[in-house]
């Protein structure tokens, strides 16, 4: 155990060395194993099933457990009471009837494409100034910490969020124009009157859910080693860990999941989503989240046994831990290799850190330990500038900070989810716009991209598409 951090350091040094070696074009070659984004757990599929497969090296019994979790992820939960009592308890308020309703094919959600389309695979977090008792965001008094448009029969839904866009013109350094779209949000049909005037909102799309077990087992020291809260090295990039309160322990823990790293682990993330997104209680979250101003919601809820049993929580968590990462494509393509070098030269890799070796974790899935993985993230918070700021703090994350999202699988989102809308709220129409929205600590990397020759920009994007 004591050796691990130093081994990791050595590995990082090797990686840095490898990147620097890339300065000589003749030496461009794939790094050993970099096509295996999830190490030995990697699967090979570039179809719409690319995010839906179990770790390649699960044994038969594990695969069975994975599919049990899959069932509770995919199938709709229904209103209680029902004959299918293991699957009832939906609501009273909810955003979706199943996990897959938002994480469709274990992939990525998106904002509505038209004014009429309801917000299906994204949601809007709400809070007012101050803190909740656990140090997290303080819920809006009437609507709670998340707008839930849908509800079971005889309970009013909370209302709906509508997004509109304004085109913001810009240009690459070579004069080629582009346009970004800046979203603004409004609420309609609010069932409990206007929100408190100082309510802060944070729209978030459902992220891809591959490789989460591997991310959970990146050694904490490897992540904290990269943290530089006060930018002591003066590179313009801070990198701060979030330490949300872990509902399992009541103590702060290193946040890894969620757009602002506000969840410590997968059990916490999953049970939080059961409650917040589907209105399903569990042992970890036994109380329904109706506010004091929602009597119909409170009256419709039958407090008793948790709606999601411990067994189902365990299986669902096993499932989320064992969804595999697909292999990269075209890793030895010269354009991809050139793009990879540009990615490093532009500084993208300072936050989208390519690789780690996983440490110990779930003893039931030994396959997750000791694998070299390629997630392209540091799981730390970064100031992303005013353009992306939501102005809503979330534990230690301030209103301008977002967690570096992993990039593995990003090239397959169009195949799996039939769209290429990126960033936390899906405002970016493709990879180039996603880069161009970077500001704050990402400003220098963005500018490097904006001022590249067209061929270089395309090479960098081609590299990203190979992830």
């Amino acid at each position: 155990m004591g050796l691990r951090p130093s081994c990791l350091l050595l590995l990082l040094l090797l990686l840095v060395a490898a990147c620097q070696a890339g300065d000589e074009p003749a030496s461009l070659a794939p790094h050993p194993g970099e096509e295996l984004a999830g190490g030995e757990t990697t699967v090979f599929d570039d179809t719409r099933l690319a995010f839906a497969l179990a770790l390649r090296n699960l044994d038969r019994e594990q695969r069975g457990d994975h599919f049990v979790g899959n069932s509770f992820f995919n199938q709709n939960w229904v209103q209680a009471p029902s004959s299918t009592e293991g699957r009832d308890g939906l609501g009273p308020l909810f955003n979706a009837r199943s996990c897959s309703g938002c994480h469709f094919r274990d992939g990525r959600g998106r904002p509505p494409l038209t004014d009429d389309e309801p917000m299906l695979s994204m949601l809007v977090r709400l809070s007012v100034p101050g803190e909740a008792p656990d140090g997290g965001p303080r819920p809006e008094p009437a609507y709670g910490d998340q707008l839930q448009p849908d509800a079971i029969l005889d309970v009013p839904g909370e209302g709906r969020a509508v997004v509109r866009y304004e085109e913001v013109p810009g240009a690459y350094d070579d004069g080629e124009p582009y346009a970004l779209r800046r979203p603004t949000y409004a609420f309609e049909d609010l069932a409990f009157g206007p929100m408190q005037p100082d309510t802060m909102i944070s729209p978030r799309v459902a992220p891809v859910v591959i490789g989460l077990g591997l991310l959970e087992q990146i050694p904490e020291a490897a992540l904290l080693d990269r943290a530089d809260p006060d930018d002591a090295d003066g590179d313009g990039i801070s990198g701060r860990p979030n330490f949300p309160t872990d509902p399992l322990t009541g103590q702060p823990g290193l946040g890894r999941f969620g757009w602002k790293a506000n969840q410590v682990g997968l059990v916490q993330q999953n049970t939080g989503a059961f409650l917040g997104d589907m209105g399903l209680t569990s042992a970890l979250h036994p109380a329904q989240n109706c506010t004091d101003l929602q009597p119909e919601c409170a009256a419709a809820f039958d407090p008793g046994q948790p709606e999601v049993s411990d067994h189902v929580v365990q299986r669902l968590t096993f499932y989320s831990r064992t969804l595999a990462v697909p292999a990269r494509r075209d890793v030895d393509d010269p354009v991809v290799l050139a793009g990879r070098e540009l990615f490093h030269e532009a500084g993208c890799a300072d936050c989208h850190v390519p690789s780690y070796v996983t440490g110990p974790g779930d003893p039931e899935v030994p396959q997750l330990e000791g694998e070299q993985i390629w997630p392209y993230t540091d799981l730390l918070l970064h100031d992303m500038g005013e353009g992306l700021a939501d102005g809503r703090p979330d534990y230690d994350a301030d209103g301008r900070e977002w967690k570096t999202p992993p990039l593995w699988g990003v090239g397959l989102v169009p195949v799996v989810n039939d769209h290429d809308l990126l960033l936390h709220d899906g405002r970016a129409r493709g990879l180039a716009e996603a880069i161009l929205w970077h500001g704050g600590e990402g400003e220098a990397a963005k500018e490097a991209f904006r001022t590249m020759a067209r061929d270089d920009r395309e090479a960098l994007l081609t590299f990203l598409e190979s992830l």
Partner: protein
Amino acid sequence: MTIDSIPSLAGLTLAFLFAAGCGDSGSGDEDAGTGTDTDAAATPLTVDEVTPVATAYADLVYATYDDALSRAEALDVAVQAFVDAPDAETHEAAKAAWLEARSPYGQSEGFRFYDGPIDDADGPEGQLNAWPMDESYVDGVEGMPDSGIINDPDVDITADMLASLNEEGGEENVATGYHAIEFLLWGQDLSEDGPGARTFEDYVDGGPASHPDRRGLYLRTVSGLLLTDLQAVRDEWADESGAYRAEFLALSPDALIQKVMRGIGTLTAAELSEERMNVAYDTKLQEDEHSCFSDNTHNDILYNFLSIANVVRGRYGSVQGPGLITLVHARDPALAQAIEDHLVETEALIMAIPAPFDQAIEGDDADPGRMAVAAAIESLRDLGDLFVQAASLMDLTLNTSLE
């Protein structure tokens, strides 16, 4: 493996997956062993060998959906007669017709999972067979007698309205299809050892349930919707211009057999063995079964299995092959024989599961019911491994999962 080999990795996936899927697994692998050399070079599919198999497959799919439609028409006649004159006799006749209708539909489920007419972007699968049923969304249930659309006179019950519910929330409310009809005929299964016990008087004025007329209208409407959807799917497999059949038969040999194999492979290794059997076996939730109102799940399992066997053998009704197995046989007769032997064995193990299924999954792992379910699951998993092996011999990748 050298880096240079990476571009060809996709083609090798199968070998990887198969090695992973088989190598570490527990009991049952010995049975699946065939003496076949899994490292044998793959032989790509040719147009000449695939064309007769593809044509027989398309005929088989059409015949299966045609039977499903005929039985659904008989069900509709029985449903209309029941609602016109609800009594114990017409009620029983409608229930019997529903049970009959499940057989061909269950045998069609191997045609799913590859973006065919049943479940492409606008396919009706969800509207036909979605589960679990959102009971209290549709009708009163124990403890909430006035729940549901049926008890809400403000809602107009029409086919369009019910179809639109399937779009609501991006995820279906499951207010239509076979299981909605099943729920409306049998009612909630609240008993430990029998099916739902809804009385025909739920459809009679002055009976125990309110809004009998609306319940009847709902039942008629979902029954009608079932016919519309089944006919649309069947017609896509007709030998007529503009139908999906022509598009299917024009696919490259690889793409075509890939679809056929993904259909039965997913049903075998994911949908049937895992989603429909292992989930219930693992959770022991009594009603975590697809036909929970009628306690017909044991038959659902058999029909799904037959769907797999039908495609392998190329046989259904008057369709007499050649089946998928001929492509395997041309490459590895021993593997083809192993698959056939395994089909026979798996069918016997499924038949040995004591009905009703929701009783079989209860108790200790050493109880006969659970042992029978576990043996059938393992046998299906072995069969799935054999399909992966067969696909690899055709130079195809067979990844199976549920979206």
